[in-house]
């Protein structure tokens, strides 16, 4: 028993030794690797360290992934979508701030593109409207009862992608639908459903082989639907015209890309179509319109219209310049006129406007218009009248007022109106009265003007003054030999009386009786008075105006000559005549 126990103890010691040695051996052989493994496990189990390491490697990994294709972008796409959506929902203002700088230019670009499109369409329409081809198409539209736009489209369109449906193949639900703006669209959900049903119907009806699908529907000559099948979705492309076959490949590629983009969506598609909105811009880019390139040979009508327009513009410019030149010339002429002051003048839209002052005696502006080539109908004038003080106009005004008779010249020098020539007494009086009242006339000079009646009266008065009726000494009886002299005197006085009455000249004739100095002075005075009275009575008897004549007896106080000679006494015993014209002695 004791031996047995001792043996057991030694065995245990041996086992312990072996285990210890084994541990040492193991430590020697695998200790470093085990410690490294522990360290790796610690790193893997420590999320902080792992995140730290990943953050260092991630940028390189993303760069590497981009270099190898766009799988990373496709993989991150849905996550980024979700993040963006959440961000927009949570803080729309922040996103608005971020995209605002890009939004303005984008909107501008879009508006410009739309406007350019409109201008292009307008150009096309104008070309088609005025060209011969356009007229032909219009006739065709009239003949076939189709809208003109449709006929134009038919002739000028190569092809147009009108609508694109992206349809979930299994359910027929439309995932996305885009259409050209000018296309009338029916409910895409119903159309895509029916399109799916028709595909099924055709497949079922005609025992299509597995994998055979409907790929084209054709309507009429120029309308078709291309159906491009994918594993999960199909594209139905509604086309007008004849697109190039390469376009089919293009849609195949697009569908493939869509499948890859939404690879995670197909399996658990539950009818939610919102995620497919992101594909919409790409589909919209495929709404292509290809128009036939028509050599734009301008029609003769267009040339004619263009030439007419150019000619019209040239004529308009020439006409405008011509009118403007005429107007300037007219204004220059007008301003050079005496008695015209232009205050304002302007021209606009074929009409002329002018305002100013004008002397009524100045030249007529309307007559100047005709001379300058201006149509008076186009001129709106407003003149205020005034009296100009310029020499020619003052002279014209004087001539207008005074109306000088033929043979009279009027001149104006420094405000003095000088008349020359011969005129009636009446006109001379009028000149003296009116001239100073004429605007611009300060004085009147009549020194060179001959008063016809006055001159004649003076001549008659002179002749009358030279007549002498003589008497015998101490006698007052009219001697028969004095009759001729008396008759001459009577005749002269009649003429003077007539002339004075006609011209308004005041005349008076003194019939002066004289005596020789022999005899007493008082007797001589009576004798001379008696002699004067006798001559007066003779003249009255001849019908002369009594108020025109007055008797004067001077006795012998005022002899013609001095001396005692008998011949002197014969001369003194006489009656003579002295005429007063307008109160002044005519022959002193």
């Amino acid at each position: 028993m004791g031996e047995s126990a001792s043996r057991d103890g030694s065995d245990a010691q041996a086992d312990e030794l072996i285990a210890s040695q084994w541990r040492q051996l193991r430590e020697l052989l695998s200790g470093p690797e085990r410690r490294r493994l522990d360290e790796i496990l610690a790193r893997l189990n420590d999320p902080v360290r792992r995140a730290e390491e990943l953050s260092q490697a991630l940028p390189d990994a993303i760069t590497l992934s981009h270099a190898n294709g766009d799988r990373m972008a496709q993989a991150l796409g849905p996550t980024i979508d979700t993040v963006l959506k959440r961000s927009v929902r949570r803080n729309p203002a922040f996103i608005a701030d971020v995209i605002f700088p890009a939004l303005g230019p984008a909107i501008r670009k879009s508006v410009i593109a739309t406007l350019l499109g409109m201008i292009q369409s307008l150009n096309q329409l104008l070309n088609q409207t005025v060209s011969l081809r356009g007229i032909k198409w219009r006739l065709e539209a009239f003949r076939t009862h189709r809208p003109f736009a449709e006929v134009v489209l038919l002739h000028s369109l190569v092809y147009q992608v009108e609508q694109i449906f992206l349809v979930h193949r299994h359910t027929g639900v439309v995932l996305q639908h885009v259409a050209s703006l000018d296309i009338q669209v029916r409910d895409p959900d119903l159309v895509s459903g029916m399109l799916t049903a028709i595909q099924d119907f055709i497949k079922d009806s005609f025992d299509a082989h597995h994998g055979d699908t409907l790929d084209t529907l054709r309507m009429g000559g120029d309308h078709s639907v291309w159906i491009e099948q994918g594993a999960e979705a199909f594209l139905a492309v509604v086309l007008r015209g004849t697109p190039p076959l390469t376009m089919r490949e293009r849609f195949k590629g697009l569908l493939k890309e869509i499948h890859e983009t939404f690879s995670s969506k197909w399996a658990d598609f539950d009818g939610e179509v919102a995620p497919f909105d992101m594909i919409r811009p790409q589909l919209e880019n495929e709404l292509i319109v290809e128009m036939r390139e028509v050599k734009q040979r301008a029609s003769p009508l267009l040339w004619l219209a263009g030439a007419a327009a150019v000619a019209l513009v040239l004529f308009g410019t020439w006409h405008f310049l011509q009118q403007r030149r005429h107007w300037q010339n007219y204004l220059a002429k007008l301003r050079a006129q005496s008695g015209i002051v232009v205050t304002t003048a302007h021209q606009g839209w074929g009409q002329y406007y002018i305002e100013g002052l004008r002397d009524p005696l100045a030249a007529d502006p309307r007559e100047l218009m005709a001379a300058a080539g201006i149509d008076p109908q186009q001129v709106h004038s407003r003149w205020r009248y005034y009296q100009a003080l310029e020499g020619p106009l003052v002279l014209r005004r004087a001539e207008q007022i005074l109306k000088p008779p033929p043979g009279v010249q009027l001149n104006l020098r420094q405000g003095v109106l000088a008349a020359s020539g011969s005129a009636s007494h009446e006109w001379v009086v009028k000149l003296s009265r009116l001239a100073p009242a004429i605007a611009g006339v300060s004085a009147c000079d009549t020194r060179q003007l001959k008063d016809i009646q006055m001159v004649e009266l003076y001549a008659l008065a002179s002749r009358l003054s030279r007549l002498s009726i003589t008497f015998a000494s101490g006698r007052s009886v009219l001697a028969p030999d004095q009759q001729p002299t008396l008759m001459t005197a009577s005749s002269l006085i009649v003429r003077m009386q007539s002339m004075a009455q006609q011209s308004g000249i005041q005349i008076h004739i003194k019939v002066i009786g004289r005596s020789d100095p022999t005899g007493p002075p008082l007797l001589n005075l009576h004798l001379s008075q008696d002699r004067s009275s006798r001559v007066l009575r003779f003249l009255f008897a001849k019908g002369l105006d009594p108020t025109l004549l007055s008797p004067v007896g001077r006795g012998s106080d005022m002899p013609f000559q001095t001396g005692d000679a008998q011949e002197h006494f014969d001369t003194e015993r006489s009656v003579t005549f002295q005429t007063l014209i307008n109160g002044k002695e005519a022959c002193p």
Partner: protein, 165 residues
């Protein structure tokens, strides 16, 4: 926006088309039934705050449920079976259609509308039939195409079932 395809099935002259005519949006004429065998309509609705468009495949009524094209049933998220309550055999046809649809696309939410409930005096559906439907977990709703009775309810019920599924 959720869009779900549903199929509406029923015996010939069970009143499918009449039932929904005033309640759905449609652009196609009834002649599609006799040509393609199906007409697509749409019902826009909101269920529990969610907008949902039901794309209704209204299949041409067949008494022989074997002739219904399976391809039309594919992808359907729900079914409306229309029964003419005054004709007992239309229930059998509906049940046959339901079995065929289940074979084709698996178990999907469905309701059975017992139409023409305004003609109660000619009613041929018994309580036992209703109990049978309940046993098969098919919700039955009595409707009237004439009065519009419970038609909206039928759509609401099916949409709710689809969203729950």
């Amino acid at each position: 926006m959720i869009k779900k395809k549903i199929c509406m099935l029923g015996a010939f002259a069970a009143g499918k088309t009449s039932l929904v005519k005033r309640h759905v949006y449609s652009i196609f004429s009834d002649k599609y039934h006799t040509t393609v065998g199906v007409k697509i309509d749409k019902k826009e609705m909101t269920v529990s705050g969610k907008e949902i468009d039901l794309i209704i495949w209204d299949l041409h009524g067949e008494d022989d449920f074997q002739s219904v094209p399976v391809s039309y049933l594919r992808g359907s998220a729900g079914f409306i079976y229309v029964v003419d309550g005054t004709r007992r055999n239309t229930l059998d046809v509906a049940l046959g259609l339901q079995a065929r649809a289940q074979d084709a696309v698996g178990a999907q939410p469905c309701i059975m509308t017992l139409n023409k409930c305004d003609l109660r005096e000619h009613w041929e559906i018994t309580d036992e039939d209703l109990a049978r439907l309940a046993r098969n977990r098919i919700q039955a709703i009595e409707t009237s195409a004439k009065t519009g009775h419970c038609v909206e309810t039928a759509f609401q019920t099916l949409a709710a079932l689809i969203l729950e599924a």
